[in-house]
């Protein structure tokens, strides 16, 4: 049930099967993303894959000494490209892998094109989804629905992605879906259809408890993607945006050239793997530790490096040091930027009110707080609109609803029309009329007591009190209490035991907050394994975009952080970032790869250079950072 591993295994198998020799990987646009999520460039280089080509690129040269591994989605265009390719083969031998089920007729036309007998393998390897985290996958589809209905092309893509996931994990599940959503039902039926049609493929070893596929619709919980996030991964996505593990930092003021785009991948970045689910305050202290550690590692004072033992230590740690310096500068930059945005946009305060809107039922205080923040000039128009959206969603039917007043306030604040329109759009999208279950008011006595107690005790962290609705749904599901009238089974069979292996799919996109929830559920409920997927992974912006009305290209929103008390350490980190960047600038002018400055003794001005040269860095004119994913290459 590890999706990253599943895809990685497929790719490894492809490479292994092609035997020794120089190889080229032929991919299409989507499979490029799929592969790049699980393999780094240096990793794949070690397996003798030296070139990465797009099947649709015209500028490919004939290289008969290469073996070609083709990993393609079984689309019409790809088959056509492949037929052309086989008619005039550019490589010596072809290993063809389709990421999904391919029709017999396509196989036949391919076979007929292969007059020179260059094809050695034709297989289906079901890596047809983007594996984001071990328990989180995405299909990178924005705007999968038109109104309440599926876009037919996206429906088939989603069906393919979902069935591929099931096949790659070797699960033949029972299906439940959210009754209130027509799209969920459609998707469930499509998946069922594929399972029936390809029943041979879905014959796996029976487990005692059959796995379960739960299909939900985003509109049931429109709140979660509207909130500011405070855990590392979610926050980075909310404030900076993660796209296939890559983060675009080019808008960061004063960013150095090589940090324009960074890669955050838990697979090869230990710090990130350890911290992606921690909240911003903890990250701050951890990054400080990282810095200190780094300071310790880097040669300190002049006389220090003069002693031979020190030099030796330096040499021995050099590659590590380099790697670490990359990690340090990357995370320091990212966290620095986050903290800048937090203070610039006053996000702490905004987030507090957001959480209040999402989790509490005190209308008058909420209204007051929203009004107060709307007066605050530091709050951006995006955040202001977002607060009103949350208010509108929560108090849609409240007796003393004063949404018109807030809309007035928005207009007075000078929030542009496009944002103001979003308020009604979101209510349309995820309002009470649409929701199948009640997001805000607790349903049963236990929950009411719980909330009462919570109100009594106060919350331990005001910024993270919100629990996505998914948590409750999954909790009920695991306990076997999920109501069948709201989430019916598809087909006559029902699950008698508690489910063990669960795949949750959210039409309209999941969020990293939900990913964290699932992660925690995985950890805390032994015997239960949950994988979360969505048509995409949302942040607020993408969520609003996918409701269909979000203006394109607006980048006006940014976010924030924990208790004010911790801020001191952030600004410190931030200061360090700036310093490091500045120093890095100087060093780069001297044509040296290490991004962070070393305080080198005066007597040894060339020492690192000597090292670099002797390590061969200099001699190799092409020296991409080892951690970089292969996609930027393509």
């Amino acid at each position: 049930m590890n999706v990253v591993f599943a895809v990685k295994q497929y790719v490894s198998k492809m490479i292994e099967d092609s035997g020794p020799g120089m190889k080229v990987l032929l991919m299409d646009k989507e499979t490029t993303g799929i592969v790049s999520m699980v393999y780094t460039q240096s990793e794949i280089l070690q397996k003798e894959v030296y070139l990465f080509e797009r099947i649709d690129s015209q500028n490919r040269e004939i290289m008969k000494h290469l073996k070609a591994i083709c990993f393609l989605r079984p689309t019409k265009e790809n088959v056509d490209y492949l037929i052309q390719e086989l008619r005039r083969p550019k490589y010596s031998i072809y290993f063809i892998y389709f990421s999904n089920v391919i029709s017999k007729s396509d196989v036949k036309s391919l076979a007929e094109a292969d007059e020179q007998e260059v094809v050695a393998e034709v297989q289906e390897f079901y890596g047809d989804y983007i594996a984001v985290n071990p328990h989180l996958f995405s299909l990178n589809i924005l705007g999968c629905c038109q109104g309440r209905n599926w876009d037919p092309a996206q429906l088939s893509r989603t069906t393919q992605g979902l069935t591929a996931l099931l096949l790659s994990l070797k699960k033949c599940p029972m299906i439940r879906y959210q009754l209130s959503s027509e799209s969920a039902k459609r998707l469930a039926e499509c998946v069922k259809q594929v399972i029936t049609k390809e029943y041979e493929l879905f014959e796996f070893r029976r487990t005692e408890v059959p796995p379960l596929l739960l299909i939900l619709d985003r509109c049931d919980d429109a709140i979660t993607p509207l909130l500011n996030q405070w855990t590392y991964q979610a926050m980075v996505h909310e404030l900076l945006g993660i796209n296939n593990n890559r983060i675009d930092l080019s808008r960061v003021p004063g960013i150095s050239k090589d940090l324009r785009e960074v890669v955050l991948s838990a697979e090869n970045d230990e710090f990130y793997a350890n911290n992606m689910y921690l909240n911003f305050a903890e990250i701050g202290s951890n990054i400080k530790n990282l810095m200190e550690d780094f300071q310790k590692k880097k040669p300190k004072e002049q006389q220090k490096l003069e002693s031979i033992a020190d030099m030796k230590a330096f040499v021995e740690n050099y590659p590590q040091f380099k790697k670490m310096s990359g990690t340090v500068s990357k995370h320091v930059t990212v966290v620095g930027e986050l903290s800048r945005l937090v203070s610039e946009r006053n996000l702490l305060e905004v987030s507090e009110v957001e959480q209040e809107l999402a989790c509490q039922n005190d209308h008058s205080s909420a209204l007051q707080n929203v009004k107060r923040l709307l007066q605050n000039p530091k709050v951006t128009e995006f955040d202001a609109a977002r607060l009103v959206m949350l208010y509108a969603l929560h108090y849609e039917r409240h007796s003393s609803n004063s949404l018109p007043g807030l809309m007035m306030d928005l207009r007075n604040k000078g929030v542009s029309e496009k944002y103001r329109k979003l308020v009604s759009a979101i209510v349309e999208y995820g309002g009470k009329r649409v929701r199948g279950s009640d997001l805000f008011s607790p349903k049963d006595a236990v929950a009411i007591t719980k909330q009462f107690l919570k109100g009594l005790k106060g919350v331990e962290n005001v910024y993270t009190q919100h629990q996505p609705f998914l948590h409750e749904t999954l909790d009920h599901l695991i306990k076997g209490k999920l109501k069948e009238n709201l989430y019916p089974y598809l087909g006559p069979n029902t699950l008698r035991d508690r489910p063990q292996d669960i795949v949750v799919f959210i039409i309209g996109g999941a969020t990293y907050e939900e990913a964290l929830t699932v992660y925690n559920l995985n950890r805390t409920t032994p015997g239960v394994r949950i994988v979360l997927g969505g048509t995409t992974v949302h942040n607020t912006k993408s969520n609003l975009k996918s409701t269909g009305q979000f203006p394109r290209g607006s980048s006006g929103f940014r976010t924030a952080q924990q208790k004010q008390g911790e801020l001191s350490s952030y600004s410190e980190v931030h200061k360090q970032t700036v310093n490091l960047n500045r120093r890095g600038e100087r060093r780069r002018r001297a044509r040296r790869p290490a991004q962070l400055a070393l305080n080198l003794p005066a007597g040894f001005p060339h020492w690192p250079q000597v090292l670099e040269e002797s390590l061969g860095f200099h001699a190799c004119p092409y020296n991409p950072p080892p951690g970089s994913l292969l996609t930027p290459e393509l």
Partner: protein, 783 residues
């Protein structure tokens, strides 16, 4: 594992609590238990549980140690996210997801198609062969036509009113042409021609592949000009126009295409591009590294720990071998990188990208593997390591004995049979044995006092057994067995170490006031000194490290081991008469007046009598003069503790500045430093004697030695080592090194020129000239 049968001893491993069978792993034990003893008492289950827990604890400890190592090497000690429970990263291994192969389907369809295609091609080739089988130039065209017509029936002219390819109507002006290979008709524009050489190439290639009879080009050299049978032929006037093809064959585009494809296939079959050849070599080298490097690392680790399971020479040979392979990899990948760069039509960008990627991955490979390649101790360091290890063993034994005595008092029933054994002989060997002997011979005899038979601990005994096994296995040349044994040994030693430390901790707490305390303190003292020594070794071994890092320069590999001794000998001959001079001669090339500080530095111990230490040395032992570098070792002339620590201290100052001033290129300096045989494992010191002889100066470790141990301890402070290595860089440079250096500098110059750093070029050229001069001088000197 004979001693496992010993009833009195403590056994460990995954033992079954009921039948005491040793099982290899926890899982095995569990299954064994379930199989064999499932029916038995419940009580035992509790026992096994506690056992399992213990085992787990031990395992945890092991894991923790590993983890610590890892943490040290990577990012360290961050608070990681741990709520407990199962991390999705830790989910149990999963098998490869579902797959489905369409290959058989594909092959079926392809086979049908291919058959068709192959038949087509073969038909064309056979016809082509027939068409070229006779002497076209000497045959009349009518006859040619007849033959051509016999090969394939021509399509009737009347049947084809339009050119099937371009659709133009045939007329008097737009005449019909027949394809000689398939008989079809096309117009002149759509007609293709096949030249005879091309036809021959195709036919002979298929002949070769079929290994049939020889090629048809047996045509005798026709002296006649071309024979145009135009007049004799009655066909038409127009035939004059098109009957000029006695050296080529008409055909349609389709046939030509097929033939061209065929030709391409033939070409590709025969052609292997350079890059493939180089790449294959590269991969071979990488495989070799993958094979050899782990072996070497094992050896080096063992040697650096002072173990004697491997021989130093063997290891250094292996090291050289591995390094050679690395250099080869580097050279090959560089060659691949620059492949075809100077060709006229520059290679396709993708070719270049491929070359860059190969180079990059080779660089990654070397970086990764080479850095794991630890250095070897020099011969003398190794001796000391061995000594140290022995001492440590001895110390442990003492501690253990004390612990045994202690525990004897407390847990008589358990250790009762051990006590008499431990008591014997050990004290004597401790008190009387080592110290005086040490003074004379550098602790070597300790090994005698350390008789293996009297090992009191079964673990120790086992260790010794295994050591001897290893020796035997090595003699028998069974490397794999050695490896497993080694593994075994290491585990045992780890266990032993742990046991000892635990005991020692308890003991030291208890007997703090007793007389033994003194000994303890002395040992502590010694330990500290060892530590210091170790620092030195590490410092010294740096040179080898840096050296080994420099694989950037590709040069024809010059380190023939056989050559090394000869040069040394040559030196020895020369040095016998004027060692100082020669070293001075060597130094002249260095741009600065480095000479002075060095002399000054090496002077103090001898108080300005320069010749004196030299002569003493040569009197002392021939061996010293055999190796020119060792002479300068400050420890030999100043053997008897005359070095006052302060003298050594300031010395490090000038030497450091020499280091700096020596020349602007550190790398060069590294080379020079690395070149000295003390640290360079490439050149096994041709020293027939044991290194101890060079060190009448005792390692400042034995307390009974006259003189203040503390003072001696300061002698061995790291500075001394530093200053040692500094001037060693200034030593007469070996010829070979000089040559290498010259090569290097040439490469630098080239590099600098390319990058347009003219000032650097100048500097380098000057440097090069000096080096060459030195080389010439040196050659003159040795001849």
């Amino acid at each position: 594992m004979a001693s496992l049968d010993d009833p009195g001893e403590v056994r460990e491993g995954f033992l079954c609590p009921l039948c005491l069978k040793d099982l290899q792993s926890f899982c095995q034990l569990q299954s064994h238990y379930e199989e064999e003893h499932s029916g038995e008492d419940r009580d035992v289950k509790g026992q096994i549980k506690s056992l399992v827990q213990k085992a787990k604890k031990a395992k945890n400890r092991l894991l923790k140690r590993e983890g610590d190592d890892r943490a040290e090497s990577g990012t360290q000690g961050y608070e990681s996210f741990s709520y407990g429970g199962v991390d999705p990263y830790m989910w149990e291994p999963q098998e490869l997801g579902a797959v489905r192969s369409h290959l058989s389907d594909f092959k079926k369809h392809r086979a049908a198609r291919i058959d068709h295609y192959v038949v087509e091609v073969n038909k064309l080739i056979i016809r082509l062969e027939k068409l070229t089988a006779f002497d076209r130039t000497n045959t009349e065209s009518a006859k040619i036509r007849a033959i051509e017509k016999s090969v394939v029936p021509w399509v009737n002219d009347q049947d084809v009113p339009f050119c099937p390819d371009c659709g133009n109507k045939f007329s008097i002006r737009n005449r019909r042409h027949h394809c000689r290979l398939c008989g079809s008709i096309m117009c002149k524009k759509c007609m293709e021609l096949i030249s005879l050489p091309f036809a021959n190439k195709l036919t002979s290639a298929s002949k070769d592949s079929l290994s049939t009879h020889t090629s048809p080009s047996q045509s005798p050299n026709s002296v006649h000009g071309s024979r145009r049978g135009s007049i004799s032929s009655m066909s038409s006037v127009s035939s004059v126009l098109d009957e000029k093809d006695d050296d080529r064959i008409r055909c349609c585009t389709h046939c030509k295409d097929t033939l061209l494809k065929r030709e391409q296939q033939i070409d590709e079959k025969e052609h292997t591009p350079d890059i493939v050849k180089l790449y294959e070599k590269l991969r071979l080298c990488m495989e070799k590294v993958d094979q050899k490097a782990p072996e070497y690392i094992r050896m080096a680790a063992s040697l650096n720990a002072g173990e004697t399971t491997y021989s130093l020479e063997h290891a250094s040979d292996l090291r050289i071998e591995v390094q050679k392979v690395y250099e080869l990899i580097d050279a090959l990948s560089k060659k691949i990188l620059t492949l075809g760069l100077n060709q006229d039509p520059p290679p396709h960008p993708n070719t270049l990208r491929l070359q860059r990627m190969i180079r990059y991955s080779a660089t990654l490979f070397v970086q990764e593997k080479l850095l794991g390649l630890m250095s070897l101790p020099t011969r003398e360091q190794f001796e000391e390591l061995k000594k140290k290890r022995k001492q440590e063993m001895e110390r442990k034994r003492i501690l253990e004995r004390q612990a045994a005595l202690e525990s004897q008092r407390r847990l008589k029933e358990r250790w009762s049979d051990l006590a008499p054994r431990t008591a014997n002989g050990e004290v004597a060997s401790l008190r009387g044995g080592p110290a005086p002997l040490r003074k004379a011979e550098g602790w070597l005899p300790l090994s005698g006092g350390q008789g293996q038979s009297e090992d009191s601990d079964p673990l120790l005994q086992q260790i010794h057994n295994i050591t001897s096994f290893i020796r035997q296995a090595r003699a028998a040349g069974r490397a794999d067995e050695v490896r497993t044994l080694q593994e075994n040994l290491r585990q045992l030693q780890d266990e032993y170490d742990q046991q000892q430390t635990e005991k020692a901790i308890e003991l030291s707490r208890r007997q703090a006031e007793e007389e033994d305390l003194q000994r303890e303190q002395l040992q502590m003292l010694r330990e500290r000194e060892w530590e210091r020594e170790r620092e030195q070794f590490q410092a010294a071994s740096l040179h080898t490290r840096t050296r080994s890092l420099d694989f950037r320069e590709i040069r024809p590999f010059q380190l023939e081991p056989g050559r090394e001794p000869r040069t040394h000998l040559a030196y020895a001959l020369d040095l016998g008469s004027s060692p100082v001079q020669s070293s001075a001669a060597q130094k002249t090339p260095s741009p600065v007046s480095a000479l002075e500080p060095v002399r000054v530095w090496s002077g103090p111990p001898a108080v300005g009598q320069e010749p004196l230490p030299q002569s003493t040395v040569s009197q002392q032992s021939e061996l010293a003069s055999l190796n020119p570098f060792e002479e300068e070792d400050p420890s030999s002339p100043t053997a008897d503790g005359t070095t006052s620590p302060p003298a050594a201290e300031p010395a490090s100052g000038p030497s450091a500045c020499v280091l700096k001033e020596y020349n602007p290129f550190e790398e060069e300096e590294e080379e020079a430093v690395a070149g000295n045989p003390f640290t360079n494992p490439d050149s096994p010191a041709p020293n027939p004697f044991d290194e101890e002889d060079e060190y009448p100066c005792p390692r400042p470790s034995s307390p009974p030695v006259p003189g203040n141990p503390f003072e001696e301890a300061t002698c061995t402070n790291p500075f001394e080592m530093d200053s040692d290595s500094g001037p060693e860089g200034e030593e007469p440079i070996e010829e070979e090194l000089l040559l290498q250096q010259i090569d290097n500098i040439k490469a630098y110059i080239f590099d600098a020129k390319q990058c347009g750093r003219l000032d650097e070029v100048e500097l380098l050229t000057e440097n090069l000239r000096e080096l060459k001069r030195t080389l010439a001088k040196q050659k003159g000197g040795t001849d």
